[in-house]
Amino acid sequence: MSHTTLNTIPATTERQRWFNFLNYGWLILGTSHLLVGIFFFFAYNWNDLGDITKFIIVQSLLIIGLIAVTILNLKTLSGKILLMATALVIGALFALFGQVYQSPADSYTLFLTWAVAILGWVILSNFAALWLFWLGLLNLTAMLYWEQFVSNIYSSQQSPLYFTIVCCLNLLAFGVWTYLRKNKHFAHEEWAYTIFAIVPIGWLTYTAIDIITDSQPAEYNWWYWLFYIIVSGLIWFYFRVKEFNLAILTVVATSVNICITAWYLHTLFDRFSFGTGWAIIIGIMLLAQSMITLKILQEVSQRQKNVQK
């Protein structure tokens, strides 16, 4: 084996780049293949394993994960990613518990317990992806709670109220995130921030469509439209004037467009005999909406640029 060629070559950025690629490639591919191979091995024999063995496997993964997180430290990205993986194992452990003991509890309790169990880790991690995952768990709990519990007790006319409460909880999370981001030098990831904004606006839009398509009595609606206008207006004002963010303004504009489209589509279907010829009118309406939205966003963006100059 000749070493001379390597020894005589000076170090270069290009070589370092290739070395990084090889090094990470070996590590990522090697580890992922090995882990998946081990998972497949257990999956192949899963039905033949006893309950105790199954618990030992999942709990061992949990302990190994936690030891590795302690060694790697939560200040490193690897440590944070590993903590997130360990948080997923917690969910697997709860699911296994439900499977083995055939619990009669509704499935929303699984996600709620999971969210509560990992809350401490989420706070400690200061990791945007884990926070988003936690928020996802809470929203999933809320949806399942509605499906499995609330909708059986209350009428569908009360669904806007329930979804508005869920929307408010998400708005609260978004507000806290905005405050921490601004005042505590925390949670700087722009992509995560945009997702935090999309979730409450998404609920706002979902509830609006629910109201439009369910044709509920006016007394149930006016307060929601008032709420919709106030919340959208406040978000628009804040991200237009206080802390300019075109991505979030685009999300608000899209929400308004979806509501308008849902309204005229529902009206067309509900009050007129809908023929395929209407498609041309709807197509033109969509073109007009898109052009108006683009024009507004461009003007807002241009004004911001002029202010910055």
Partner: protein, 327 residues
């Protein structure tokens, strides 16, 4: 009309990507709805070919004469609607998949040459390759697809390695379109090597040809970096390629993904790297869900591949430290 719209909108470059995506979706939905409306009002289902050609022509004109981001998206969407109408119309007239695929192949090549839009060119290239696949299937010679894949990969590599090309937009389009086409072809026809017939032999040849292309590209990179194959690093790279052949026996698309990962790193191209990694992940998913091998066989294949890769890494890092070199 075009003039007014151009005044209200700006060029694609100055518009953020998320706004362009939203406009794109809106333009696509509008174009489809307007076409359905025109069909319903005028009853031109019998003249779909003419409608398709007129739509493509109008969108070509629109794209060529506008700088607006929204009109670009609308022209693109309209052209796609026109192409679908044309294909359906030809199908209604001739009732032959072979004729539809052959005419669409010619149309796509023509659009690739003249339509002044990068994404449109990429999609035209992919559709042209799919049209060739349909022709091969219709002629009952689909096993020749292996040769089509070798040619597409070889040509893609040639275009990536070629420095000067008379048409830069065309070169960029083909650079991305051919890798995407190859993945699409392989995923459309996902089969393993566990039978030994003429078709399987051709697939084996395709696999070997792809290994040859990877070896060629890896050799180019090593030559650029002055790395001798007889060094520890040369051996480590060669071993890695050999190890990755293990899962590739079941999923040939893994080899193609590996080829484009190398090209992407070599040319510092993040988009191609993203495509190749996506191709790698989707191909691995095919492997996971393949019903032709048992979970235990998959487990052994994956564990052995992973274990060997980690051994190569450890061995290389050990020797690298020992001989004190950077790479």
């Amino acid at each position: 009309m075009t003039k007014i719209l151009n005044e209200t909108t700006t060029s694609p470059a100055s518009t953020p990507w998320y706004v362009r995506v939203l406009l794109g979706i809106s333009a696509w939905v509008s174009a489809i709805l307007i076409s359905i409306g025109i069909f319903a009002i005028t009853g031109i289902e019998d003249s779909l070919v003419i409608f398709g050609l007129v739509f493509i022509g109008a969108c070509f004109y629109l794209k060529k004469n506008s700088t607006s981001v929204f009109l670009s998206q609308l022209a693109f969407a309209g052209s796609a609607v026109g192409q679908v109408s044309l294909a359906v119309g030809i199908g209604n007239i001739f009732d032959s998949m072979l004729v539809v695929a052959t005419i669409m192949l010619v149309v796509e090549i023509l659009l690739l040459l003249i339509f002044p839009d990068l994404v449109h060119k990429i999609i035209s290239t992919v559709l042209a390759v799919i049209a060739v696949k349909v022709i091969l299937v219709d002629l009952e010679v689909q096993y020749l697809e292996s040769i089509l894949i070798i040619i597409a990969n070889g040509f893609a590599l040639y275009i990536w390695n070629k420095k000067d090309w008379h048409n830069e937009q065309m070169q960029t389009a083909i650079r991305y379109a051919l890798p995407v086409s190859v993945f699409v072809l392989l995923w459309l026809d996902f089969q393993s090597f566990n039978k030994l017939g003429f078709e399987e032999t051709l697939k084996m040849i395709m696999g070997l040809a792809n290994v040859g292309l990877i070896a060629y590209q890896a050799h180019n990179v090593m030559k650029e970096l002055h790395i001798d194959i007889k060094t520890w690093l040369g051996v480590a790279i060669a071993s890695t390629l050999l190890i990755l052949l293990i899962p590739s026996v079941t999923v040939p698309a893994l080899l193609i993904a590996l080829l484009y990962v190398i090209v992407a790193i070599q040319y510092r191209n993040k988009l191609l790297l993203g495509l190749a990694i996506l191709g790698f992940i989707i191909s691995l998913s095919y492997f996971y869900y393949s019903l032709e091998i048992t979970l235990l066989e998959k487990s052994i294949l994956m564990s052995v591949t992973g274990g060997l890769l980690l051994i190569v890494r450890t061995a290389y890092l050990f020797f690298r430290k020992k001989i004190k070199v950077l790479l």
